[in-house]
């Protein structure tokens, strides 16, 4: 029999491996999804106006897109495999349901994306501009469909619907369409897509700002900054309202204990809850240290009533508390804090753009340029909020984390592969950065002709 601590270690290594590989993986698709839209926009703009700079912009971003896409594919395959390798019991029990949406992702979106990506990257000459635009559109549709089906899988784990549990613990599907009518799905999907667009818009604007500040590729720099700011402003607003608000309402309704933990509300307050801006959770005394808070705002934002009651964490039994309350609390606050900064930055840029002063405002271009990593952090923090908040469950309220792990894979084997992934992904990450910097440094327009 496996000892308790060996079992704990095994679960820990399996969790760390999945968390590490999926966190690293998602750095790429968030750019893929948003950037595909921006490239299609550049290509469309070129077709409409005939201005060659837009075609150059599309071609320039396609180079980064291709590299980014390849990274997404190679780091994505391990995720599908790991359901079986590391979470065999979970796969066995729920495969009839989540296998459904995952298999659909493969069949409907990966084939679409990969078939047309080849034509998009190599086919400009063979196809002509119009058909080339269509292949880009197909890649965009494939990428966004993929996101949709993954979010459908995610939605089922957070808020299971359309299932029945058999005596042997197996989940069977009883209603296929319920998977897509899941109230959790659409708010999460739109929230996630808006967040992905933020990453891409900031990326494009940031590269543009770099060109303007270093006084080279000026035309391209202006196009990038302008497009990035317009898309970035829209996306930053959408991610907060209405999509973020809708997601939060789902959490209050279906997962009140997650809501209390992420907001840092330990006690139920009569007459309305305050919103926490800053503070550190103290899990021993079950309270928040050094807090700065604004009274009654949380109640109002949640229920539109100043005195609405919000259940505090201490009202829920310990075993159903999220296993890492401080991690969850910080993730959520980092996401919200950065989201606020994104809106402020993009609003300032948009106003200056409208006043035709943005390209000369070096201080603002500097801010735009150094913002590049923050949308990645915000996206990651957002996913940590939702997934740490799901703990200790794999399937919310139905299947615990510890009951989903592979029974025969020892902790030693899991640690071995975890270390391997860490080493390999550090190498991948460094190479990716190096090559992106190289492509950016070389810039658009120059010797980009397809051989």
């Amino acid at each position: 029999m496996v000892s308790i601590s060996a079992m704990d270690d095994m679960i820990l290594y399996n969790r760390l491996q999945f968390a590490f590989t999926i966190t690293f993986h998602y750095l790429f698709p968030q750019l893929t999804m948003g950037l595909s839209l921006l490239i299609v926009y550049f290509k469309w703009k070129f077709l409409r106006t005939g201005i060659i700079d837009y075609n150059d912009a599309a071609k320039f971003w396609m180079k980064i897109f291709a590299l980014n896409f390849a990274m997404g594919v190679v780091t994505g395959i391990p995720l599908e495999f790991q359901f079986g390798t590391n979470w065999a019991k979970f796969s066995e029990l729920t495969g009839g349901i989540i296998g459904q949406t995952l298999a659909m992702e493969g069949m409907f979106s990966f084939f679409l994306e990969s078939s047309f990506l080849g034509m998009f990257l190599f086919g400009e000459k063979l196809l002509g501009h119009k058909l080339h635009f269509v292949t880009g559109l197909m890649v965009f549709i494939g990428a966004w469909a993929s996101g949709f089906l993954i979010l459908a899988t995610h939605a089922w784990m957070q808020h299971p619907v359309g299932y029945e549990v058999l005596e042997n613990g197996r989940f069977i599907l009883t209603n296929f369409s319920a998977l897509f009518k899941n109230p959790w799905l659409l708010p999460s999907y739109f929230h996630n897509q808006a967040a992905s667009l933020i990453t891409s818009a900031f990326f494009v604007a940031s590269v543009g700002a770099f060109y303007l500040l270093s006084n080279k590729h000026i035309t391209a720099g202006r196009i990038f900054v302008k497009t990035g700011v317009v898309f970035g402003l829209i996306a930053s607003l959408l991610v907060a309202f209405p999509t973020g608000d809708m997601v939060a309402r789902n959490v209050v309704k279906y997962q009140p204990v997650k809501f209390a933990a992420m907001e840092g509300v330990f006690e139920t307050e009569k007459g309305g809850s305050e919103i926490i801006l800053i503070g550190q959770p103290d899990m021993v005394n079950k309270k928040l240290d050094n807090k700065i808070a604004v009274p009654k705002i949380l109640s109002f934002l949640t229920y539109q009533r100043w005195d609405a009651e919000i259940k505090g964490l201490n009202e829920f039994a310990d075993p159903i508390h999220p296993t890492n309350v401080p991690g969850l609390y910080y993730s959520y606050h980092i996401m919200v804090g950065l989201g606020t900064i994104f809106i402020a930055t993009m609003l300032a840029c948009a106003v200056m753009l409208w006043m035709k002063k943005l390209y000369q405002a070096r201080w603002l271009l500097w801010i735009l340029m150094i913002m590049i990593p923050f949308p990645y952090i915000a996206n990651t923090a957002g996913w940590y909020t939702t997934e740490l908040g799901r703990q200790p469950w794999l399937v919310y309220n139905l299947l615990k984390m510890a009951d989903g792990v592979s029974p025969t894979v020892s902790g030693g084997n899991a640690l071995f592969t975890l270390l391997g992934f860490i080493g390999l992904y550090i190498l991948l990450g460094l190479l990716f950065l190096l090559l992106v910097i190289k492509i950016v440094y070389k810039g658009p327009g120059s010797n980009l002709a397809v051989k």
């Binding site: 396609m62 291709a66 590299l67 390849a70 594919v73 190679v74 994505g76 395959i77 391990p78 599908e80 495999f81 359901f83 079986g84 390798t85 590391n86 065999a88 796969s91 066995e92 029990l93 729920t94 495969g95 009839g96 349901i97 296998g99 459904q100 995952l102 298999a103 659909m104 493969g106 069949m107 409907f108 084939f111 679409l112 990969s114 078939s115 990506l117 080849g118 034509m119 990257l121 190599f122 086919g123 063979l126 197996r170 069977i172 599907l173 296929f176 592979s406 029974p407 025969t408 894979v409 020892s410 084997n413 592969t417 391997g420 390999l424 991948l428 090559l435 190289k438 397809v450 051989k451």
Partner: protein
């Protein structure tokens, strides 16, 4: 419904082996037989826009396995944990090699990623052959020790090898002399297959030489096939029940035989596509013969205590399988359409696409 998904899964798997098989094969040819930079470039061009889409068949097959046969997916993926993770790492290396090579023009950099691409292709071929060997040989389901299961009856875990490399030892390993033999068969098969693809998609000077190489390798392959058929019988006596009961299943071994024999006429083919069709036929025939002779088993048990995993005891529930068939048929039609479009856009030789320059 289980049977429908069994057929679908195997069609997808064999399609994957034929498609990604040629680009693994191209990698092996690239490693061992390409001499000049031009030859190497044309080999990479031949698979440039395709390899990525080919790998999607692996992901999609994995998805179908997950959803239609969750118990088999859970059991085999956790049981074959180490080799699967190694396969993932190799796939990553290979892809990175292909994508990064053209990004920096320095011959050390190019050499490094050429080797990564070639060696990863070679090892992947070995692993996939060995994987087939493991399935054929069967595993100790339930990890039975002295007649008692130490795990649930459908779970197991295999070490990479045991000290004797003996497939019949009590504690089996992924790598033993039998599975390694099938690994070698896979390498030779895919090298021939990849060489045929290169001949089909390029007009490289390497092509004439490749035809000679294919002929010699095919002699080796014919010997290996006979040898492994005999040893297979020694490792796990093969009941020919299915072939005896359902005469139509003879189609599969006959297809494999025709594919193998046809390759001997490589130097006489008028069209470049003929060789590729024969090597595809051989892969199709040998894969389906194996699957058909195992049926209804999908993963045989090597002990008396726990039953083999079969099509019937690992499948998902009926309702899910039925609605799944609905969307799958729509998706399959779309996939065929993309495939046709892709072939038409990139018809003919690929010498001028400048792969790796994008």
């Amino acid at each position: 419904m289980e049977i429908f998904w069994f057929v679908v899964l195997n069609i997808m798997l064999v399609t994957y082996v034929i498609l990604d098989g040629y680009d693994f094969g191209a990698g092996i040819v690239h490693l061992f037989f390409a001499r000049t930079d031009e030859e190497k470039q044309s080999i990479r061009n031949s698979i440039g826009p395709f390899w990525d889409a080919n790998e999607v068949w692996l992901i999609a097959s994995g998805g179908v396995l997950f959803f239609a046969f969750p118990t088999l997916y859970a059991s085999s993926f956790s049981g074959f944990y180490l080799p699967l993770i190694l396969v993932l790492w190799l796939l990553i290396f290979r892809a990175v090699g292909l994508e990064l090579r053209g990004q920096v023009h320095n011959h050390l950099w190019e050499n490094l990623w050429d080797k990564a691409f070639g060696i990863a292709s070679l090892l992947l071929a070995v692993f996939f052959g060995a994987a087939l060997g493991n399935v054929v040989r069967g595993v100790n389901l339930g990890m039975v020790e002295n007649g008692i299961s130490t795990q649930e009856p459908h779970y197991f875990f295999l070490a990479l090898w045991n000290p004797t490399f003996d497939p019949l030892a009590e504690h089996q390993g992924i790598i033993d002399w039998f599975t390694i033999l099938l690994g070698v068969v896979a390498v030779v098969t895919l090298t021939i297959h990849g060489a045929n693809w290169i001949i089909l998609k390029t007009s490289s000077p390497i092509n004439t030489r490749l035809k000679g190489i294919i002929f010699k390798l095919n002699v080796v392959l014919a010997i290996l096939v006979v040898l492994s058929a005999i040893l297979w019988h020694y490792v796990k006596p093969v009941p020919l029940t299915n072939l005896r009961t359902y005469y139509w299943t003879w189609i599969f071994p006959v297809a494999g035989f025709v594919g193998l024999m046809g390759q001997f006429f490589i130097r006489k083919f008028k069209k470049d596509v003929t060789g590729f069709l024969f090597s595809s036929l051989f892969i199709f025939g040998s894969f389906t013969t194996t699957v058909a002779s195992l049926f209804p088993n999908m993963l045989p048990s090597t002990n008396e205590v726990n039953p083999s995993l079969t099509v019937y005891n690992v499948a998902a529930h009926e309702y899910g399988l039925t609605v799944g068939a609905g969307w799958f048929i729509i998706a399959a039609i779309l996939v065929i359409a993309y495939f046709v479009i892709q072939l038409r856009v990139f018809k003919g030789k690929m010498d001028d696409i400048g792969y790796g320059e994008h």
